[in-house]
Structure formats: C-alpha cells, structure tokens
C-alpha cells in the first residue's frame, strides 16, 4: 500500500490549499462578527422612540444597546432579567423629536 506524503504534492497546490483554508476561516470569522454586530447594534434612540408610541424600553447599563421593550416597566425589567441584564437603564416612550424648553 502506497502512503501519500506531503512532499509528493506540488508546492503550488500546497500554497493554494493553505490560502483557501485561510480565506474560508476569514470568511467565517467576518460573518460571525457581522452577526454579532447586528445582534448588538448600537442603539439609535431616535429610531426606537419614533416607532414606540407608548410603553417602556430597557437599554444596557451603558445606554448603548436595546435590551427590551414592553408596555409596562415591570415587563421590560423582567424581560431584561431573562436575557441576563439585571440593572438596565429604563426609559418611557416619548416623542423625542419634539424640542423641549423648561
């Protein structure tokens, strides 16, 4: 039975297969990163509040990520706990596009 040794492959084929594996790994890494970014998209408060006419929103403690929305404060606090955020920032829906004086 003949055994295949690495040195039997031409150099070009070895380089090509190495590059291919590298490209595939890179593609997987970029895809995972993009998926994570989409899941943890930095919050655009204007967009969220313009869609939410009433109820509450919960953000991550750094106010950057949306954690939950709900009709009551209790609801958003419970939803946040379920996804592992025990102390979210909470905000009631409001027409944020309006200007305020006072």
């Amino acid at each position: 039975m003949s055994r295949t040794h690495l040195s039997q492959f031409p150099l070009l084929a070895r380089v090509f297969s190495g590059v291919t594996v590298g490209l595939i790994l890179n593609f997987i890494w970029v895809t995972i990163k993009l998926m994570n970014n989409q899941r943890r998209k930095v919050v655009n408060l204007g967009s969220i509040l313009s869609k939410l006419k009433k109820g509450w929103i919960a953000l991550s403690p750094d106010n950057k990520y949306l954690v939950a929305t709900g009709s009551t404060l209790n609801e958003v606090l419970e939803k946040s706990k379920k996804v592992g955020v025990d102390n979210p920032s909470v905000l009631k829906a409001a027409p944020v596009k309006n200007f305020m004086v006072g």
Binding site: S47, K92, A94
Partner: protein, 152 residues
C-alpha cells in the same frame, strides 16, 4: 464623574439631524428597601425646581404614592399636574466609578401623565433632588461632569 450626552439621530424632512441630549442614567431607591434600585434615564434640567420621576417607578419601588405630601407643579403652557413627594435615595455613577455619589432627598411622583408632546416622560432632575447635592458642568456636546457639592 463624566457622563456623555445622549445622541439622538432623526431625519426631519429627510435631512439627517443628530441632537445631543443632557439625559443621564441614575439610580433611585426606596430608603425602606435599599437593595432594589431602578435606573431611569432622566433629563438634567436646571430650569426645574423639583426632581420628578414617573409613578410606575415609584410603584415598583413600593412607595405608597398618594400617601406623600401633595403639591401642584406647573410647566410650559400653564398646565399643572398633582405630584406626591417621597424621600428617596438617589445614586449617580458613571461607568468608570466604583462608588456612586449617593444622597437622600425628596422626589415627586405623579399618577397624572406629563403632556403627551413632552419629549422626556421618565424623569426630570431638578434643583431639589439633584442640583442641590451636586456640582454640574455642561460641556456640550462632549460630556457633563458631575461632582458632589462641596459644603460652604
């Protein structure tokens, strides 16, 4: 402690607009149960004489809201709402600080809602309950510095 302004992006008349609002996260708790703290995002408003927090937060913290001393407060347009004052514990803490600035003061809760057009419905941080304990420096649009008020 240093807090960023909260950026809000919208597109009035299809034109991109970013506004930087002086809204910060703070903690509020009932002195009878200090272990439960809610963290609303409130507007820092030097024009407000009191600190106002939405009644759902008060109920969650088990305040018997209507047992507090009542008063009427007036805002833009001459409208008024009835509020009830309760002693609360307030916590101010930025992301880099290990210890919060903590103080006890009166906060107003109301079962009546603010006018629906008001862009901040959760909490307003005014003189009593906020500025009277703190030195606040606005550096728009970069940051807001908040330090404990030094005694005179």
């Amino acid at each position: 402690m240093r807090f960023p302004y909260l950026p809000v992006l919208d597109f009035p008349n299809h034109q991109k607009r970013i506004r930087y609002l002086p809204w910060i996260r703070f903690g509020v708790a009932n002195p009878k149960n200090k272990s439960e703290i809610i963290y609303p995002i409130g507007l820092i408003d030097s024009g407000s004489e009191i600190t106002f927090v939405d009644y759902e937060i008060g109920e969650k913290l088990e305040f018997d809201i209507e047992k507090g001393r009542s008063d009427k407060v007036y805002g833009v347009g001459g409208g008024s709402i009835k509020v009830y004052y309760h002693k609360t514990i307030l916590y101010i803490q930025d992301k880099d600080s290990e210890e919060p600035i903590m103080f006890e003061d009166w906060v107003a809760f109301s079962k009546e809602k603010f006018p629906i057009t008001m862009p901040q419905q959760t909490a307003i941080l005014g003189t009593v309950g906020f500025f009277s304990h703190l030195k606040v420096t606005f550096n728009y649009p970069r940051f807001i510095d908040i330090e404990p008020n030094t005694p005179h």
